[in-house]
């Protein structure tokens, strides 16, 4: 009688244990299914956020055509016409204040500063009035992140070659207007030639010959060395130099008021 009761008790315990094991396995499977669903949702949410964020910096898809190109050319010509240029310097060579602009033509933050930050207003006002001159100092950041240095040198020397005809800033502005994703290989001979052909008054044959100039290669190397020795780590870096010393805006894409604030410190 006792052994029969014990057998029943044992069977009951086994049944309970089996039920618990099944329940645990079922709960674990359900938890893992839910986890998988949440992971997929999270990946989708992050991908959407990245797509929106990357859209901030796409800056176009390379060479413009038609109406968009005409608008870009008009914008550049309107900004620069009437302002003296000499090599990589924009503005009155005797201006009391110099803003040295350490930049990289493929840098999206430089593009944002040059086209929609405080730069256009500075050019329209202080540079046009002869109070400030801007000197572009090439410093490889975004380009060297995705490409060999030769690409950086090639595009920068193309701009310096335009500078020999006092069109450096036209080239730089057109480059920023038609900048594509820094990870793509959009900078090629076709691209560089197209930018040159968009500059009114630039003699293409002279520009092409100047691109192989040893002097420009040396100038580029010297400017890069200067940036390194000054401890430049990112672009754009803007250094105002004037009678009262030096000043630097502390925002990545300085607004016009940021630039004016630095300017006042050195005037």
């Amino acid at each position: 009688m006792a052994s029969r009761a014990k057998a029943k008790e044992d069977a009951r315990a086994r049944r309970i244990a089996e039920e618990q094991a099944r329940a645990a396995a079922h709960a674990k499977a359900r938890r893992m299914q839910r986890l998988g669903g949440v992971v997929i949702l999270a990946i989708v949410a992050v991908a959407i956020a990245i797509a929106i964020s990357s859209g901030n910096s796409s800056g176009g898809t390379g060479l413009l055509h038609g109406k968009a190109l005409t608008q870009a050319e008009t914008s550049v010509n309107t900004l620069l016409t009437g302002i003296p240029q000499s090599g990589d310097t924009l503005g009155n060579p005797n201006a009391p204040v110099t803003m040295t602009y350490f930049g990289d033509l493929e840098c999206p933050v430089c593009q944002a500063f040059t086209l929609s930050g405080g730069f256009p207003q500075l050019v329209q006002n202080e540079v046009r009035q002869g109070k400030v001159k801007v000197v572009y100092s090439p410093f490889c950041t975004a380009t060297c992140n995705s490409h060999p240095h030769t690409i950086f040198a090639n595009q920068q020397i193309a701009a310096l070659a335009a500078g020999q005809q006092n069109k450096f800033w036209n080239y730089v502005e057109l480059f920023y207007h038609q900048q594509a994703s820094e990870t793509s290989n959009y900078v090629n001979e076709n691209y560089l030639n197209a930018l040159a052909s968009e500059i009114p008054g630039l003699t293409l044959a002279t520009w092409k010959a100047a691109r192989s100039s040893q002097a420009l290669s040396q100038q580029l190397a010297s400017q890069e060395q200067s940036g390194t020795s000054q401890g430049i780590t990112g672009t754009p870096t803007l250094i105002f130099s004037g009678p009262k010393g030096k000043a630097q805006p502390n925002t990545s894409i300085p607004s016009y008021s940021d630039l004016q604030s630095s300017l006042k410190q050195v005037q």
């Binding site: 839910r34 933050v109 990545s252």
Partner: protein, 170 residues
């Protein structure tokens, strides 16, 4: 299932990290709207990163998005009870926060070429919260108590609601 860490201890640690993250993002949001440069031992690096193209998402400062995210995580830890669904919600939110923070850190390193201390600190916080919420979800509630074994310590597992528990009391 053996536990890596006692649920109550884990929950408290996550609360502390979350509150610190909220304090940090309140500061970053405040200086963003006030136009103040952040405290930074790396010169202007923090200011440059926090005013870069990637400092906003669809026009909203990422500092504010981070703040709202951390408040939501805090809500899932405190307000809705400790159920499987809330643990999963915490894990989902920390996963999204981790993914986007990792992308922003990539941008800092490879696009802006500068590091912002506050941003890295926030990335560390969200990484710790992700690890915590992952452990919390995988460990699950105290759940199955094998026959003959004592019930879990109610003080230790106070964060786990009895409703989520499957006892052996049949």
């Amino acid at each position: 299932m053996s536990r890596l860490i006692a649920p109550r201890v884990l929950w408290r640690a996550m609360l502390v990290i979350n509150v610190l993250a909220i304090v940090l993002t309140v500061y970053l949001t405040y200086i963003h709207y006030q136009g103040i440069s952040p405290v930074c031992s790396l010169g202007q690096a923090c200011a440059k990163v926090q005013s870069s193209t990637w400092s906003k998402l669809a026009g909203v400062p990422v500092a504010l998005i981070g703040l709202l995210g951390y408040i939501s995580i805090l809500g899932s830890l405190l307000l809705l009870g400790d159920r499987e669904e809330t643990r999963l919600a915490t894990l989902g939110m920390t996963l999204i926060g981790f993914g986007f923070s990792a992308y922003l850190t990539y941008r800092e390193l490879f696009s802006i070429h500068l590091i912002c201390e506050e941003c890295v600190t926030s990335f560390v916080f969200v990484t710790l919260l992700l690890i915590g919420s992952g452990i919390r979800y995988v460990q699950g509630p105290p759940t199955v108590v094998p026959p003959g074994e004592p019930e879990p310590d109610p003080e230790l597992d106070a964060a786990d609601k009895p409703s989520a528990r499957v006892t052996a009391a049949r």
